[in-house]
């Protein structure tokens, strides 16, 4: 029984510490976001969002104990059924779910609302680990790539059907994991270039963009005159890029919904309509910018208190930190997230099984995506996408889902010396 007791010795306490700092400051920030000046609202009041969040933190702690005491093998063993169950829930929610502000992604059970898409992230992280863990699994083989790509595409598609594009986009983050496991960098490059082409075309217009491409083509031809193979690659990629540029307009106006078009327009041209479509971006920048270096003081924010920011306890929670705790507070939060991300990479890298390592990188990718997109949108570096800030935003499903991801990684890490799957 020595082994079992030593779980606490093997636990990565640094991560636990960062986790606790994040959820507790998150709880206090939720309190600040809903606080009405002059009132005697208590952060412990279970009728308020802050009190509820504290309950969710408590429930997460129960999950923590549970995960630490159960057999570490269950995660690999049950990864398939967990995945099947959560994906089924995504299907069911389409039929039985409650519609909240345009998306049908919640189960209402009594007073509690559960968002299955949050748990699907956890399930997908597990099942990806299991697939990569198979003997001779090589992501470079198209068959394998298609397999894991399907595992991501399935929940992605279902969540899109729910109307929750933000949560669906999160699944794209898993491609980072593939990259770690050997997927050619071309995919990442193509992804980044596509993004640049898309934004560039919207910003500069079709003709300028084609001009730039033509320029690049001429330059490339001059450089690689004598290399036929290179010329071929160059021609194909420029042609593909041109096709992409031509399709931007179509994609923008036919694939994206009007509110998504608005968000992108606002991102590209933030001052065009500050009182209409640009309201949220303008106001969140005002709130954060007005915090100054030291902030206005805890519970003393005005922009968030007086409802200039929508969704301030959930997606826009960072505005409250920026306004009340200023640059100092924001800096501290970013340092915490960065330390957590670095720590997760270190943990993932020291795993001896592919299951644990892939799971670790999944955790990394999910947290990175949520954190960078969420903060990026509040400070105008990214179009508005409605996803929560991990550990911070109000919401039980997201908190528990992220907690499960982190705790499971810690559990696997604590048992890393025990052989679980194949060595890499």
């Amino acid at each position: 029984m020595n082994r079992r007791e030593s779980i606490w010795e093997n636990l990565d306490w640094i991560t636990v510490l960062i986790y606790l700092v994040l959820v507790l400051t998150g709880w206090l920030t939720i309190h600040a976001a809903i606080f009405e000046s002059g009132s005697d609202m208590s952060p412990f009041d279970p009728d308020l969002r802050s009190g509820k969040q504290l309950i969710w933190i408590g429930i997460s702690m129960v999950f923590f104990i549970f995960i630490m005491v159960i057999d570490y093998k269950v995660f690999l063993t049950f990864s398939v059924p967990i995945y099947i169950i959560t994906v089924s829930l995504l299907l069911i929610v389409l039929i039985l779910g409650t519609e909240v502000s345009g998306s049908r992604s919640w189960f209402a059970l009594g007073g509690i609302k559960i968002q299955p898409s949050e748990f699907t992230k956890y399930a997908t992280a597990l099942i990806l680990g299991r697939f990569f863990n198979q003997l001779n699994f090589d992501i470079k083989k198209p068959k394998n790539f298609l397999k894991v790509a399907m595992l991501i595409a399935l929940p992605f598609g279902l969540i899109i059907l729910q109307g929750d594009t933000g949560s669906a986009l999160v699944f794209i983050a898993f491609t980072l994991v593939f990259f770690r496991e050997g997927l050619s960098a071309i995919f990442i490059i193509v992804g980044v270039v596509s993004f640049v082409l898309f934004i560039g075309t919207l910003l500069l217009g079709l003709n300028s963009m084609l001009g730039i491409l033509a320029g690049l083509l001429v330059l490339g031809i001059l450089i690689s005159l004598k290399n036929r193979k290179r010329l071929l690659i160059l021609g194909v990629s420029v042609a593909a890029a041109a096709a992409m540029v031509f399709s931007v307009d179509f994609v923008f106006s036919n694939v994206l919904k009007p509110h998504q078009q608005n968000r992108i327009q606002v991102f590209l041209n933030p001052n065009a309509d500050p009182t209409g479509a640009g309201w949220q971006v303008t106001q969140s920048k005002i709130a954060i910018g007005s915090g100054g270096f030291w902030g206005k003081g805890y519970l003393k924010g005005t922009q968030t208190k007086f409802d200039f920011i929508p969704d301030q306890s959930t997606d826009n929670i960072f505005c409250t930190i920026g306004e009340e705790l200023g640059f100092i507070g924001s800096f501290f939060l970013i340092i915490c997230f960065t330390l957590l991300l670095i720590r997760i990479v270190m943990i993932a890298e020291r795993q001896r099984t592919l299951f644990a390592r892939v799971f670790g990188y999944s955790v990394f990718s999910l947290i990175l995506f949520h954190y960078s997109v969420n903060i990026g949108m509040t400070i105008g570096l990214f179009p508005v996408v409605g996803i929560p800030l991990p550990f911070y935003s109000y919401g039980g499903s997201a908190l528990i889902s992220f907690s499960l991801l982190l705790f499971t990684l810690l559990k696997l890490d604590a048992h890393r010396m025990q052989v679980l799957g194949r060595f890499n």
């Binding site: 000046s37 980072l176 770690r180 496991e181 050997g182 100054g292 200039f308 991300l341 990479v345 990188y361």
Partner: protein, 601 residues
């Protein structure tokens, strides 16, 4: 396998942090505009409008007061499409009007309230008050508007309205802002600074809906409004209303002055209107109706209507001649009607008789003696010398220049100076025979009614006057009355020469043309006149003061197109003096005669 790729992931984490920190330091540390934008968001500067000073009459009755009214404001961001139809119906607006108003509000701000429908009176507001609860984005701003409870004195009170751009520019630095209600004309304009008071400011924090979230920095920057000063004016409301009653439906003016002080007791510019027309939301509409009215109700006749003074000017000619020493009370002159027409049965009168019968040949001769005193051999030069002396004495009665009344737009009439004739005829090319019509108050001479009332006061005072004025006290303190209204102005004619003129005026009323100007039991001095009107019937004019000794009231009455001064003007003057001196009208038959209004027969 691929272990080096971990640096890619570490790199992303660090790079993201760096980008965020740089961006945040720009937003939060280096760019301070967000701080002021945040304050703009939450701080609402609410003007605390001062209570505008009241205007009272000489007995403390309120002539101008403040009434609650309500301005509806809209917050475009909160308005719902479904509300629009019903809002248009209860505000009685067309689609186009509604849209243009909304557009105006939007261009000001999406999330701050801006004026939508201004100055709804209490009764109209009560009708819609209950409905407002169901409307999002509609805010009520209570605002005081001016009201004139007696609907009287339109010629003097003026009106109050929102300050216009021009005035805002002109009065820069005096603390006026767009939206302030200021005096635009009349006493409201003249005493604007006294009545306005001082605005206060309350800074309030508001949320995104514009709802108050309490004071800003514990009222540290707030100031309280200081109410404007009340003013009392010399008008006697009862007398004013009686004079308006008599002048109803006519054109002309009634000005009554207290001779001992220059205080204006009655000031009627007819036709008159209810000054409440120029308050509240219909101001613009009513104002243009008054402007286009062919009877010109906005033309302030007592101050601006210049008429030839006619026979009444003989009084001044007599006084100037006496002072000049060219006649004495017993001077008799033959009524030679070959040179100039005359009327009535008389042939050879002394001064008193000449005034009483208004003898034209007599006063022609009087002016000749004033102008030609044989001081120069050259008859032209002689006339010029005499004319200069005459001009100085005439203008000492307040003719030719504004008297300095406390109302805007006072005109001075016209007394031609010698340079005027030089210009027309050339220097030393005009003489008495060129300008003799001045003798009987015709020719180039023009006077305004207030000057004629002042003339009555001067004769009643035997040679002096105080500039006519309205102001009686400010906040009950008469020491605040401007010094220029307490300054006694003496004419160039000595007191001793007035007796004969006063006696003659008494005769005019006692058994002459001015009999309708009499007041039972009192000695009234008056003079009738007829202002020639080339465009139609002559204007009926009468001036008077009473009692003869130590007069309490001096008056001038003009009734346009009503023929001889003996009828309409003398009758009205008599009734107004009777009302003032006796308190009630004993001569009902005279009142009926005036109200019947058949003066041309």
């Amino acid at each position: 396998m691929n272990e080096n790729r971990k640096y890619f992931f570490l790199g992303i984490a660090v790079l993201t942090a760096l980008i965020f920190i740089v961006r945040l330091s720009v937003l939060q540390v280096f760019d301070s505009t967000y701080r002021s934008e945040a304050e703009n968001n939450i701080i609402q500067r609410n003007i605390d409008f001062p209570f505008r000073g009241l205007i009272k009459d000489r007995k403390g009755r309120i002539l101008a007061e403040n009434m609650p009214s309500y301005t509806l404001q809209v917050i475009p961001r909160q308005m719902r499409k479904q509300q629009e139809e019903s809002m248009m119906s209860w505000l009685d607006l067309s689609r186009e009007e509604f849209n243009s108003k909304i557009e105006k509000a939007r261009s000001f701000s999406y999330y701050k309230p801006s004026d939508f429908e201004k100055l709804l009176p209490q009764d109209e507001f009560s009708e819609i008050q209950d409905k407002l609860i169901d409307y999002d984005g509609v805010v009520v701003k209570p605002i005081l508007r001016r009201a004139y409870p007696h609907q009287s004195l339109s010629g003097a009170l003026g009106y109050v309205a929102e300050i216009d751009k021009e005035k805002l520019e002109k009065e820069k630095g005096k603390g006026y802002h767009q939206g302030d209600m200021v005096g635009i004309s009349g006493l409201e304009l003249e005493y604007e600074e006294t009545l306005f008071g001082e605005k206060g400011v309350k800074y309030e924090m508001v949320n995104v809906k514009g709802e108050s979230q309490g004071s800003f920095k514990a009222h540290e920057y707030d100031t309280t409004a200081i109410p404007g000063h009340d003013i009392a004016i010399s008008i006697d409301l009862e007398l004013q209303q009686y004079a308006e009653f008599l002048m109803d439906g006519r054109r002309g003016s009634v000005v009554a002055i207290e001779p001992a002080s220059g205080e204006i007791l009655t000031f009627v510019s007819a036709p008159f209107y209810d000054p409440n027309l120029l308050t509240g939301r219909d101001l613009g509409h009513n104002f243009s109706a008054l402007t286009t009215d062919t009877t010109k109700p906005l033309f302030n006749r007592p101050l601006m209507a210049a008429y030839p003074p006619g026979s009444i000017f003989k009084l001044v000619q007599a006084l100037v001649a006496l002072q000049t020493g060219v006649i004495t009370p017993v001077t008799r002159i033959r009524c030679n009607r070959n040179i100039i027409a005359c009327h009535g049965a008389h042939t050879y009168e002394d001064l008193q008789g000449a005034i009483q019968y208004s003898c034209n040949p007599y006063f022609r001769q009087v002016l000749r003696r004033v102008l030609n005193q044989n001081e120069s051999d050259n008859t032209y030069e002689d006339t010029r010398l005499g004319f200069e002396g005459w001009y100085d004495k005439i203008t000492s009665f307040g003719f030719g220049n504004p008297l300095g009344i406390d109302l805007p737009n006072e005109k001075g009439g016209y007394i031609p100076p010698s340079s005027y004739y030089d210009k027309i005829y050339g220097r030393n090319r005009w003489k008495f025979s060129t300008i003799y019509s001045l003798a009987i108050g015709q020719g180039e001479i023009l006077t305004v009614p207030i000057q004629m009332a002042n003339l009555a006061a001067i004769i009643g005072n035997r040679g002096f006057y105080y500039p006519p004025h309205f102001i009686k006290s400010i906040d009950g303190d008469d020491a605040m009355v401007p010094a220029k209204y307490k300054e006694k102005i003496t004419t160039a004619v000595e007191e001793k020469y007035f007796g004969v003129v006063v006696d003659a005026m008494a005769k005019v009323v006692e058994d002459g043309t001015g009999f309708r100007g009499a007041v039972p039991g009192l000695e009234v001095c008056g003079k009738t006149g007829t202002a020639e009107n080339p465009h139609g019937e002559d204007h009926s004019v009468f001036i008077a003061f009473a009692p003869k000794d130590d007069p309490k009231i001096a008056i001038s009455v003009y009734v346009e197109n009503s023929g001889q001064g003996a009828r309409a003007a003398a009758g009205i003057a008599g009734l107004v003096m009777e009302k003032y001196l006796l308190g009630e009208i004993q001569r009902k038959y005279l009142e009926e005669y005036i109200l019947r209004g058949e003066f041309i027969y």
